[in-house]
């Protein structure tokens, strides 16, 4: 009995000595590992973004567009579109045609028109051009504009060289303004897959110039907009500029993964997400294209 107690006491003392000796070192090592792990996680996410950007979304989007344009047998339409409706919470009650068998393809369903009276056009000077979620809105009083809180994109990269106005100014920002007492304001609206995918003129305005940037087709969902600064300056987009009652006005349709095909009804020459180099820029003087508030302007097609 005596020997057993002595052995236990010795073991306990040994354990306490080891614990007190190695505990501080272990703590330091653990904190160090946490720090390294946090660093690794940060680097990995950056690497993941780089890999993500390298993925050939333009090609896959074109393939997806061709698949989505294929006619679906009438017997399968309710199932296919019904699945899409459930997946993306589509509000079919607003559609002009609620019979799912009417839509020949997923592309046709995606660009379904609204029924008459489904939307009320407000008397305000500027209204929403589309259904969606506001990513950001407010004054844009510098060359760096917020795409989401704290993440910016460059105004000049986004619009490109100011060729539509004869006014010259040292500052790109000021060269856009008709009245120097004014400032620019912006509104970014994200269209989710289940939303109505046509867009309308937000006010009475005249478009005079169009610039099409062939770019990447990264997703533009709010989560990625927080991760990738300048997201809207790298994606495929059609920029329309002109004037409204206060001066400069622009409306830009930015494509995204599987939705890179932008169609503008008053600009039939526009061709987006076509084969070829990714960094092409195509410009067109439109003359005077007058748009009335609420008038149908264009749509995003699958592909």
């Amino acid at each position: 009995s005596f020997n057993t107690n002595a052995n236990n006491k010795t073991k306990w003392l040994n354990f306490r000595a080891i614990f007190t000796r190695w505990m501080p070192l272990g703590s330091v090592m653990y904190v160090g590992w946490c720090y390294i792990r946090a660093s690794i996680d940060y680097e990995v996410s950056k690497v993941e973004i780089k890999f993500y950007e390298m993925f050939p979304f333009r090609v896959t989007s074109r393939l997806w567009g061709k698949m989505a344009a294929c006619e679906i047998p009438v017997s399968l339409r309710s199932f296919v579109y019904g699945t899409y409706i459930r997946m993306f919470s589509v509000n079919l009650n607003d559609a002009a045609v609620t019979d799912l068998k009417y839509y020949k393809s997923l592309s046709a369903f995606f660009t379904r028109p609204l029924r008459d009276g489904a939307r009320y056009i407000s008397a305000a000077p500027c209204v929403s051009p589309c259904d969606g979620v506001v990513l950001n809105c407010g004054p844009a009083d510098t060359d760096k504009i917020e795409q989401v809180k704290g993440v910016t994109y460059s105004l000049e990269e986004f619009l490109g060289e100011n060729k539509w106005l004869k006014r010259k100014d040292e500052s790109y920002y000021n060269s856009l303004l008709k009245n120097k007492e004014n400032i620019l304001h912006q509104c970014i609206i994200y269209l989710a897959p289940g939303d109505y995918h046509r867009f309308h003129a937000p006010c009475d305005w005249t478009a005079t110039f169009r610039r099409h940037f062939s770019g990447k087709l990264l997703s533009v969902n709010p989560w990625l907009a927080k991760l990738i600064p300048g997201l809207f300056t790298v994606n495929e987009r059609a920029v329309y500029v002109g004037e409204w009652e206060y001066g400069f006005f622009s409306m830009t349709a930015v494509g995204a993964t599987n939705v890179g095909s932008i169609e503008i009804f008053k600009d039939p020459e526009l061709r987006t997400n076509t084969k070829g180099k990714r960094n092409r820029v195509n410009e067109l003087e439109l003359g005077q294209v007058c748009m009335s508030k609420g008038e149908l302007f264009g749509q995003f097609n699958m592909g």
Partner: protein
């Protein structure tokens, strides 16, 4: 896909919405 409006207006021009709000076609963007 995304629609971006960028336009000139007086400094006191105010939006009647904030980030995260759901909007519909024709809904007022501004305070009348």
């Amino acid at each position: 896909s995304t629609i971006i409006l960028l336009f000139e207006a007086p400094k006191d021009f105010k939006f009647d919405m904030a980030a995260g709000d759901k909007v519909l076609v024709g809904q007022s963007l501004t305070k009348v």
